[in-house]
């Protein structure tokens, strides 16, 4: 494998309400910042992740290219997924060996619609979408299954949310949310409002570079030692919702989780952290979502990419040696991506 690393990460100060900026306006300062920090203004490849349904306009991702500067024509691609999958595509492109740098970005603005209902439109159109079942209701089914199978108390969910909010308040990019209340009514039982990631507007960008170019652009690149993504059946009734075998498999294919000090997990619901810890065999010694994670800021379509960025930032700043990022897509953790990064270059 060609050694590829994250060399820079930038994100907005995410907002919990509409600040009046369009998606492109949200994104532009992040692109400007990451170009300034790397000194690179033209990239070998550009790939983005976003969701046209967030603003209800076809090809709305195209206008985001205004923030990148696409003339003379650039080599560009887009995934209608979280931008963590755009990063995967860029990593594959870098493996081809024809380019040395890639810009990856994602952006999402959920303040303009009801995201749980937008999510419904991404479900199977025959059996799920016609029911009107939304993202939170689906996640609550998984939470119930997990709580019952493991005998876990709902208070453990609250503890996850509480820690996420505490960490989020220490992160200038995350929302600053109060500690969960004692007796919040259910949003969809067994999930309470604090168990559900907040409405968030924001954007994020990462620059990937290969080999010597990575060393040139960063003092301590976050080398991707393994990256993989796996999927499970779409129908939640066809799966064992109490575990995440696709995460477990992706982690194994990415080289395993041994030695990981920090894990940034794409947990849009607090029970997902418990399921993912099991699937990734993360012990108590691993710092999970020290950024606060998605429960403290969830600019959808950028949230998974931010996991890669936050984890990589711990390598870039020298505070960790080996980190893991996870991203998810689909209902009830259907599809999962695992990216393991290290301060040590792997030519493996």
């Amino acid at each position: 494998m060609r050694p590829v690393a994250v060399v820079a990460f930038a994100q907005t100060r995410h907002k919990g309400e509409d600040a009046g900026l369009s998606e492109t306006e949200l994104l532009a300062p992040v692109i400007t910042e990451i170009k300034r920090r790397t000194g690179v203004t033209r990239f070998g490849f550009t790939c983005s992740g976003s969701n046209d349904y967030l603003v209800g306009a076809p090809f709305s991702f195209v206008s985001a290219l205004d923030a990148v500067g696409a003339w003379p024509p650039i080599s560009e691609s887009h995934v209608e997924m979280d931008a963590a999958w755009a990063l995967y595509e860029a990593w594959v492109k870098l493996q081809h060996g024809e380019i040395d740098t890639a810009l990856v970005y994602g952006f999402g603005k959920t303040s303009q619609s009801s995201y749980p209902e937008v999510f419904t439109q991404g479900l199977d159109p025959y059996y799920l979408a016609p029911l009107g079942v939304d993202q939170v209701s689906l996640a609550a089914l998984q939470a119930r299954a997990y709580l019952e199978r493991t005998g876990t108390d709902e208070r453990r969910l609250r503890a996850v949310a509480s820690r996420a909010r505490t960490d989020g308040r220490a992160n200038p990019s995350a929302l600053h949310l109060d500690d969960p209340g004692d007796a919040e009514p259910y949003e969809v039982a067994p999930l309470r409002p604090h168990d559900v990631a907040p409405v968030t507007d924001g954007a994020a960008a990462i620059v990937l570079a290969a080999g010597d170019k990575a060393r040139e652009l960063a003092g301590r690149p976050a080398w991707i030692t393994g990256i993989d993504h796996r999927s499970e059946p779409h129908q939640p009734g066809f799966r064992d919702l109490t575990s995440s075998p696709s995460t477990r498999l992706a982690a194994a294919k990415a080289g395993g989780t041994g030695g990981v000090e920090v894990a940034e997990l794409h947990t849009q619901f607090s029970h997902e952290e418990l399921i993912l810890r099991d699937a990734l065999d993360l012990g108590d010694g691993v710092a999970v979502n020290p950024s606060g994670g998605p429960l403290a800021a969830n600019p959808v379509m950028a949230t998974g990419l931010i996991r890669v960025g936050e984890a990589a930032a711990r390598i870039l700043d020298g505070t960790a040696g080996r980190v893991l990022a996870h991203a998810t897509s689909g209902p009830c953790l259907q599809q999962n991506l695992v990216c393991v990064m290290s301060g040590e270059r792997s030519d493996g």
């Binding site: 309400e17 509409d18 349904y53 603003v55 209800g56 306009a57 303040s111 303009q112 619609s113 009801s114 749980p116 209902e117 419904t120 159109p125 025959y126 059996y127 799920l128 016609p130 029911l131 009107g132 079942v133 939304d134 939170v136 209701s137 689906l138 996640a139 609550a140 089914l141 998984q142 939470a143 119930r144 299954a145 019952e148 009514p185 259910y186 949003e187 969809v188 039982a189 067994p190 999930l191 409002p193 559900v196 907040p198 409405v199 499970e232 059946p233 129908q235 939640p236 009734g237 066809f238 919702l241």
Partner: protein, 314 residues
């Protein structure tokens, strides 16, 4: 609608008027056609599993499924559920309901659908009956079109009925009780003293239950007494102020027998054996020939009576 979401009328709508047209193919098409006829059909995989709802490929092996469609259900088992206290307008029911994964008998996988648990106020907590493992059946729409919504929702199997139960009476309390209530209607608590043992019986029965002799000597008792024993009640009762409430045996000062009454004006967990109490009468203008004239007994604040003095009145 969850509070976290933006309120206000939309200024932009994305919609395919009349709905988006999709072909369904032979597997889903067969399922939907059977559904329109009121039948639940699963499809068998090459390794013998029954997928429900049917899909074209075995999710484990990736093989085409067979063309064998098998009857499943209609009864199914809930394998997981979530409870929606405040339905969205896009949801199939407009009152609190459950989403459930339901595995019909004879199938190896589960269907997601709505589960109607009955009538609840918005914001209601999940009902206790709602459990993983509960048995449910589809509620069919009368007019079916060949869509997953041909099942309006699922509903629990019948496990209980409500049997009508009512008899009508014209009761007489008897002379002694009549006289007692006459006293109560005038704000007095009257008992009878037994000629043989000398104890005062209140409310009087015209008999001494200890000696079996008639009694007639009236004695007026004060409205103060002592709790000898009590129970904390957690089921609501129209006569009690709130749940939990305390019903207690009260030994009125001068009485030889206890009477049953409510104790209030003190948290239930602070009621004690030996606690001194006094009758709380309703305002005089509300008095009738009824024990309801005494709303309940309240603490007097006097020191508790030692157990030895009440131990024979439990």
């Amino acid at each position: 609608m969850p509070s976290s979401e933006r309120s206000g009328e939309p200024n932009h709508i994305l919609e395919f008027p009349g709905g988006y047209t999709r072909s369904v193919g032979p597997v889903i098409g067969r399922f939907l056609s059977e559904l329109r006829d009121g039948r639940l059909k699963g499809v068998r995989t090459r390794n013998g599993r029954v997928l429900f709802p049917p899909v074209e490929y075995d999710p484990d092996a990736g093989d085409d499924v067979t063309d064998e469609f098998v009857d499943v259900g209609p009864v199914g088992t809930v394998t997981s559920w979530s409870w929606v206290p405040n339905p969205r307008k896009t949801h199939p029911l407009d009152r609190p309901f459950a989403w459930a994964l339901i595995r019909p008998d004879g199938a190896d996988t589960a269907l997601l659908h709505a589960l109607d648990m009955g009538v609840f106020d918005l914001g209601a907590k999940p009902p206790r009956r709602l459990r993983t493992g509960m048995r449910v059946r589809p509620r069919w729409r009368a007019e079916r079109v060949g869509g997953i919504g041909d099942i309006e929702c699922f509903q629990p199997e019948v496990t209980m009925i409500t049997a009508p139960s009512r008899l009508e009476y014209r009761l007489q309390g008897g002379r002694a009780l009549d006289r007692f209530l006459e006293g109560v209607s005038q704000g007095k608590i009257i008992g009878h003293r037994c000629d043989v043992c000398g104890q005062v019986i209140v409310p009087m029965k015209g008999l001494c239950p200890k000696d079996g002799v008639p009694t007639s000597e009236e004695v007026e008792l004060p409205g103060t007494g002592t709790v000898t024993t009590f129970a904390v009640n957690n089921l609501p009762d129209p006569r009690a102020p709130e749940v939990p409430f305390v019903s207690a045996y009260i030994l009125l000062d001068g009485a030889g027998l206890t009477m049953l009454a409510l104790v209030a004006g003190v948290p239930a967990d602070q009621v004690r054996m030996g606690m001194r109490v006094r009758a709380a009468w309703r305002p005089r203008e509300e008095w009738t020939r009824s024990m309801a004239n005494i709303r309940w007994f309240e603490p007097t604040g006097e020191p508790d009576v030692p157990f030895d003095e009440i131990k024979d009145h439990l």
